[in-house]
């Protein structure tokens, strides 16, 4: 290989050099784009889930204060509008399940307690947990769980376009 390269005419050497530099630059750009895309997507999803959790939490305050599970369940049905959300729940102040929502055609098990408040990614899921506060007292917790499958499908599209680009270069 090395020998072949040394014996090759200068025109070939230049072509090979240029092609490999371009390929490397393209590969680096693709990696950077993928990373950026992933980070942007996660950030946007996180913001969206935070807003949804805040709205559900605010709306559920009265239902929690007056112990009305059916109204809380009705309010959780609003999560249906966001396709990436696969499950949601409201826990009472003792961290016991108060009302739940599981998206149709999904088979998700909700946890018995909400866990620490905050946002977290576990496996292929993003989970948002927020306390519900009424006049300075925590009256419950809202839990929203979303799938990251949209991110996977975006990455797939990116990978496909990357491979078609590299074959075009070749």
């Amino acid at each position: 290989m090395k020998r072949w390269f040394e014996d090759a005419p200068i025109r070939w050497k230049l072509t090979v050099l240029m092609a490999s530099t371009t390929a490397l630059a393209l590969a680096l750009a693709a990696v950077a784009l993928g990373t950026y895309e992933g980070a942007t997507f996660r950030k946007a999803l996180e913001q969206k889930l935070n807003v949804v959790a805040e709205i559900v939490g605010r709306n559920c305050k009265a239902a929690l204060a007056f112990n009305d599970r059916s109204v809380a369940k009705d309010l959780l049905l609003a999560l249906d509008a966001e396709p990436s959300i696969e499950a949601g729940a409201v826990f009472d102040k003792d961290d016991k399940l108060f009302a739940t929502y599981v998206a149709a055609k999904t088979n998700v098990a909700l946890p018995a307690s909400p866990g620490e408040p905050g946002n977290r990614i576990t496996g292929r899921r993003m989970i948002v947990v927020r306390p519900i506060v009424l006049d300075g007292e925590t009256v419950g917790t809202v839990y929203v769980q979303s799938t990251l499958s949209e991110l996977s499908s975006r990455m797939l599209v990116l990978a496909e376009s990357r491979s078609s680009l590299s074959s075009a270069v070749r």
């Binding site: 305050k61 102040k93 300075g136 007292e137």
Partner: protein, 193 residues
């Protein structure tokens, strides 16, 4: 056995309310032993606080942003010390809650629970209290018809409430849509239950 389970549930409800007025377990038996009656009024006391948290008073009702919020009982007090225990350490709109026992309409009360002892003059009291800007709560069945704002009642082992937004508006009080949605008489209208 059924009685035992009701008693157990009542105890659980009472324990829940003892911790915080927010997050009331609105479960209690209508009649029965003294302990059950105490649990019933513990739930009702917590409900009085929670009503206040979902109702807006005009700003000029309070002398300062940290002026206390007064919950008054008019007539023979069915709560006893329960009301004072239930409001202790809790806030309404950031204000500390204080309780008062009154024999007649007095200014300065934000929530007035009209005791059953005043049954005969319920209509007069509801009218006079509307002019003071107080939220009126009672257990009488006809309370809404005579101009009352919130009526508490027992359904099975649960304490429910009816709300009359028309009377609230007359006193310039605004109930949150979230509170109205939980009222038994409004639920029937929405066809939820």
């Amino acid at each position: 056995m059924a009685l035992l389970s009701v008693t157990r549930r009542l105890k659980a409800a009472a324990a829940a309310i003892a911790v915080a007025a927010g997050g009331v377990a609105a479960t209690a038996a209508p009649h029965g032993s003294e302990a059950q009656r105490a649990d019933e009024y513990r739930v009702k006391a917590a409900m009085l606080v929670n009503f206040a948290r979902f109702i807006e008073w005009p700003a000029d009702v309070f002398s300062s942003p940290i002026a206390p919020f007064y919950v008054c009982v008019l007539g023979v007090d069915p709560f006893g010390g329960i009301l004072d225990d239930s409001v202790k350490g809790h806030l309404v709109g950031g204000r500390p809650i204080q309780t008062r026992r009154i024999a007649d309409v007095e200014p300065g009360c934000h929530v007035v629970f009209i005791s059953g002892s005043e049954r005969k003059r319920m209509s007069v009291l509801a009218d006079r209290l509307r002019t003071t800007g107080a939220l009126t709560v009672a257990e009488e069945e006809e309370f809404g018809a005579v101009g009352g704002m919130i009526q508490l009642f027992t359904d099975g082992d649960t304490i429910k409430f009816n709300i009359y937004p028309g009377s609230l508006e007359q006193s310039k009080l605004r109930a949150s849509a979230r509170l109205i949605a939980l009222a038994a008489n409004q639920k029937h209208m929405r066809g939820l239950r």
